[in-house]
Each structure stands twice: as C-alpha cells, then as structure tokens.
C-alpha cells in the first residue's frame, strides 16, 4: 500500500523552474521600441500601425498607400473610442488612432493623442470649414483629429405610410404611430438629442441637468411609443423590412442600403436640424513612426481616397473629391450638407446623459 506523499513533489519544482524560463523568454521576446520616425519631416518608410473601426481599413484604401510609399500597414480594430482608450492606457502601442467627435474625450483627456501639425496635412485648407473648425477637432489650441468622414442622422420613414413626408423630430412621438416607431439606441447621444430637438431645444448638447431630466421624464412617459431601441443600423433595416416600424431615426447611408433591398423608404433632415457624426484620424502620443502616420492621414484625405470613402455611404470632408464620385453617390457624399447640421460631440453633462439613458431603457 502506498501512503500519500507528504512533501512537495520534485516535478512541482521543475514546473516552477520551467515557468521562470518561459517568463524570461517572453521578456526576451519584447518588441523593439526604437522609434522609426519622430518627425513629420523624416523620410516615409518602415511600418505604420493603425487602431481604428473595422470599416476604416478597407484594402482598396490601404493597398495603394502601401504600394506608393513602401510602408507596411498593420491594423487592429476596436468598437468604441472608450474601448480603444482602455487598451492604449493599458500599454498598447500604436501610431494612428481613429477618433470620433462624440466619444473623443477618453483619448484627449488622457493625453493619448499627439497634437497634429496641420501645415503637414496636404489637403487641410481644402477641407470643408465645417469639419476643420468643428468643436472637438481643436482643443485648447491643439488639433488632435483630422476629420475624414461623416454621416448625417435624420428621420427614416416608409413613404407609403407618410404620403406627405415627415419634417419634424416630433413625429417620433406622434400618438397615432404608437408602437410603430424605433429609436436608435446605440448610445445615449442620439435618442436624447433627437427627442430634445422635437421638444424645442435648439442646442440639445448644451442642456443643463434639469433640462436633461425633463427630456428623460418625457421619454419614460412615452416609452410605449417605441417598438424597440435599435442597437445598430442592421436592426433598423430589419424592423422596416418586417413591417414592424414605419418611422425611425437613422443615417442616410442606412436608407441607401434599405433602398437597395427594395424597401420603400426615404430619409429627411428634419426642420429642427439633423445631427451628424464626424470621425477622423489622430496620431498616438506614443507613435513610433510619425512621418508614416502623417503620410497615411494625407493619403486618406486625398481626393482619390475620399471618393472611395464615399462609396461606403459616408459623407466626405474634401470637396475636391466630388467630381470623382459617381453621380448616384454624390448627394450622400456632399460635405456641403453637413454645414447646417448639428455635429455629434460630447454633451456638456455627458454623465447625466448616460445616466438618463440607462433610466429610459429600463423604463
């Protein structure tokens, strides 16, 4: 009979020793942190690393850049700037970061972005002023973001249900449409902002806490108005296709997709003003290849690449690209339309917005 052993088995010690060796090897495998370029004036070469939304790194945009410059592009993706900020703050190293105005503060406030020298941005002066001067592009005198694409956010309606069209955000709360309306619920900004616009607030993103509470209470009171809060544009499309809703807020690009599916829908900028998201590229404060980062941003801002971006259903920021865009895409791509819209930037009382949205969702 064998009695249980009372001592630590020798194999344990071996295992611990092996673990130590592995850890040592891992440390030895550490990346080469030597910068390839720390100035926009350096020759463009080496590798540039991007950290963006997935739809911003299409091969048809990146391949010409790699071919022209010889720079290798390494890509990683995220699903929100807050998620990106968490990873970068944790130590993830990258060169070019996609930044959207409505969620840029986690990156800007944590000094994760380097100021951009706009004199090195080739088409900076060609960019529509509405983008160049948009709130959040320049903070305290430093430019952190080169806008590259945008998207208007208005009303989507089924044309057969509205023979005379729709022209106000207030239609979302028309009692006659109870249960046939969807609201974009991907975040707190758009649902509260469009409701506030319908209630008569002209500058919803500057609402004080009392005003936010008033909008919140109105939304909770009318919670039954909505069939659901759509999490994405695919949700919105599905709701229209299944006939569950006849009215929703959403992007112009979403309507283009729906029309391609044969749906009888239209998009309108309400009289109170449409919203518009704006996204672009910033350079990481930790960038190891500043020259290639500027080169990549310039590539995205060039007229040829802006025309390709228009093909994704987005509005572009460089009007020089308009002649290169197919006729049927020009209306959605035209940067001039964004001038009169309300840019989606972070609200003055963002925490109150987020809190209110949580309360609205649970009813």
């Amino acid at each position: 009979m064998h009695s249980p052993r009372e001592t630590t088995p020798r194999s344990y010690r071996r295992l611990i020793a092996m673990g130590g060796v592995c850890a040592f090897l891992l440390v030895g495998c550490g990346g080469d942190d030597a910068p390839q370029s720390d100035s926009a004036d350096d020759p463009v070469s080496g590798t540039v690393r991007t950290f963006t939304y997935d739809d911003s790194i299409e091969p048809e945009v990146l391949d010409p850049f790699e071919a022209e410059t010889g720079v290798e592009v390494q890509t990683a993706t995220f699903n929100s700037n807050a998620q990106a900020a968490a990873k970068i703050k944790g130590g993830f190293s990258t060169d070019v970061i996609e930044v959207c105005l409505d969620e840029s503060s986690p990156l800007v406030d944590s000094n994760l972005l380097a100021p951009i020298d706009t004199s090195k941005i080739t088409d900076w002066q060609d960019m529509a002023p509405a983008f160049r001067e948009a709130e959040g592009v320049t903070v305290d005198g430093s430019t952190y973001l080169v806008p590259l694409s945008a998207g208007p956010h208005g009303l989507i309606y089924e044309t057969s249900a509205f023979p005379d069209g729709v022209d106000s955000w207030a239609a979302l709360y028309d009692p006659a449409l109870q249960g046939q309306v969807a609201l974009d619920g991907g975040g707190s900004l758009t649902p509260i902002a469009v409701t506030a616009l319908g209630l008569g607030y002209t500058d919803p993103l500057s609402m004080n806490p009392e005003e936010i509470a008033e909008v919140r209470d109105y939304m909770i009171e009318n919670r039954d108005q909505f069939r659901t809060f759509a999490d994405s544009d695919s949700d919105t499309i599905n709701l229209f296709k299944s006939g569950e809703v006849v009215l929703s807020d959403g992007g112009k690009g979403t309507v283009t997709k729906m029309q391609k599916e044969g749906l009888d829908v239209a998009w309108v900028a309400p009289q109170e003003g449409a919203l518009s998201w704006v996204c672009g590229f910033g350079i990481s404060a930790d960038s190891k290849n500043v020259a290639a980062s500027y080169a990549l941003i310039n590539h995205y801002l060039s007229a040829e690449m802006q025309a390709l971006i228009a093909g994704q259903g987005f509005s572009i920021v460089n009007p020089e690209a308009m002649p290169l865009i197919p006729e049927e895409e020009r209306d959605a791509a035209d940067p001039a339309q964004l001038g009169s819209m309300i840019p989606e930037v972070e609200a003055d009382y963002q925490k109150e917005w987020d809190q209110a949205w949580q309360e609205i969702q649970v009813g």
Binding site: L26, D55, A76, T77, F78, F92, S93, S234, K257
Partner: protein, 281 residues
C-alpha cells in the same frame, strides 16, 4: 386519474424540453437559415436561396486570416492545457502537501475572475514587461485561463476514481509509468477528450482576453466584433459562424465516435454524455 396526471406531467416535461430547446438552439438555427438567404437583411420574408455569403466569406482574406489565427491558437492552447490541467489535477488530488489548499485556490481564480478583468490585467502585465502584444501573448493568457477548467474537469473524475486500482497495479508490479498509461489514463480518456474540446472552444471563442492582449494579428471573435459595426457584414459572419458550428459539431461527433469504439474494445461503454459530463457529474 394516475394516468391522466402522468400524461399532464409528461406533457409539461415535453413542453419544458421544447422551450429550452427553442431558446438554446433557435437563435443558432435562425443564424444558419439566414446564412442562405438571398438578402443582406436578416429578416423575414426569406428572399431565396443563395451560397453567395459563403463564397464571399471564404474569399475575404481578413476573415480567413482571423479564422486561421484562432484555429492555430486553439490547436496549440488545447493540448498544452490538457497536459497542464491534468498534471495539476493529479497533484491536487493525489498528493498531500501543506500548501495544497492555496494552490487549489490559485488554480480556481481564473475560473472566477471575469475575462474582461483578466484581459486588462494581462495587458498591464505585458506592457509592464515591455512585451509586444502578439498572438503569443494571447496564447499565454488563454493557457492561463483555460487550464484551470481542465484541472476542474479532470480532478472531478480523479476524485471519483477508485484509487485501489492504482494501488493494485503498483502492488502487482507495475511501474508508475505503466500504472499511469495502462490504468489511469484509459479511465480518464472521456474527461480528457471533453477537456480538450472545452479548452479548444474556450480559446477559440474568447473575445475579451484576445482583444486586450492581442496586437495586430486578430483572432476570429475580435474580427467578428469589429466587422459587425457594418450591417453589410452580417450575412458573412452568419455564413462563417455556420461553417464553424458545423465543423465543431463534426469534431465532437468524431471524437465521441472514436472514444466509443475504443471503449467498446475495452469492454466499457463511454457514451457522448459520459464524455461531456465526465468531469462535472
């Protein structure tokens, strides 16, 4: 009366099983169904049959690259976890030493701590050591979080295992190696097979840890999470997910089939349920 009550009970039981089945399998079956729908919109009515999404998915280099990354990673992680987890389970259940409870607790931690926290902790760890984030760093973290699962499954089997068989083998002159290979491992085979499947699936499916500890080579779940922002990609993801689900089902089936054949040759009767639940019964 009794038969009437029995029929009601049977009916309720059937209803419960059907409800659970629909809730568990319904979304997966719908996903598979819409992967053949000739429309990029995931909603009824069905627009017609197409294999276009499969063709597009298999022609998407980023999707294939991410899939290959995940398969290779899981294929490396799973056997390492089976070895590490089994060794740990053996140590915890077969040896008596003063710090056994401490080690058992340490091994259990990755099963309790949320993967999001582990992912961020891993990121901070690698950043502190200035280790570049790559698939290797993801693999190290997957091993760290997955081998405790194998430990739990195998340890549960070992606890129920008649130690007298080990002792009898040794008393009859078997060496430690022979006792392990001829007596213990054959008994552990269903648990090891189940562990390998779960370890593979845990690594393959993991998003949180892969996102935070990965660099510029993405795994499949990270790719899926990124591309779902654009609704045009939904049918591609459906097609790819359906293919993966079919492959996973086939792998489990053939593993079960192989184990059953071996078991029958040995005169035992390990079925699929034995394999899957061996560690947790």
């Amino acid at each position: 009366m009794t038969s009437a009550r029995g029929r009601v009970t049977d009916g309720l039981a059937l209803l419960l099983v059907l409800t659970v089945g629909v809730v568990l399998l319904g979304p997966i079956l719908l996903l598979a169904l819409f992967s053949f729908n000739d429309s990029s919109v995931i909603a009824l009515p069905f627009e017609g049959f197409t294999l276009e999404w499969y063709r597009e998915a298999l022609a998407d280099p980023e999707a294939i690259k991410a899939l290959v990354n995940s398969v290779v990673l899981a294929a490396i992680v799973a056997p390492i976890c089976v070895v590490l987890g089994t060794a740990t389970a053996w140590a915890i259940t077969r040896f008596r030493f003063r710090s056994r409870a401490v080690w058992s607790g340490l091994v259990a931690i990755p099963l309790i701590v949320p993967w999001l926290v582990i992912g961020i902790a891993g990121l901070l760890f690698f950043a502190t050591l200035q280790i570049e984030l790559t698939l290797e760093t993801v693999g190290v973290m997957h091993i760290m979080t997955t081998f405790p699962l194998v430990t739990a499954l195998v340890a549960a089997r070992l606890v129920r295992f008649e130690r007298s068989q080990e002792e009898a083998a040794l008393d009859l002159g078997a060496s430690q190696f022979q006792m392990m290979t001829k007596v213990v491992l054959p008994q552990l085979a269903p648990a090891l097979a189940a562990s390998a499947i779960f370890a593979f699936a845990w690594s393959f499916n993991n998003f949180e840890i892969s996102f935070f500890t990965g660099g510029y080579d993405q795994t499949f779940p990270v790719w899926v999470y990124g591309v779902l922002r654009n609704s045009n990609n939904l049918p591609l993801v459906n097609a790819m997910s359906t293919l993966i689900s079919v492959v996973q089902i086939l792998v489990v089936y053939f593993l079960w089939w192989g184990i059953r054949r071996v078991s029958r040759r040995r005169g035992t009767a390990d079925e699929l349920s034995t394999m899957v639940t061996s560690g947790v019964r």
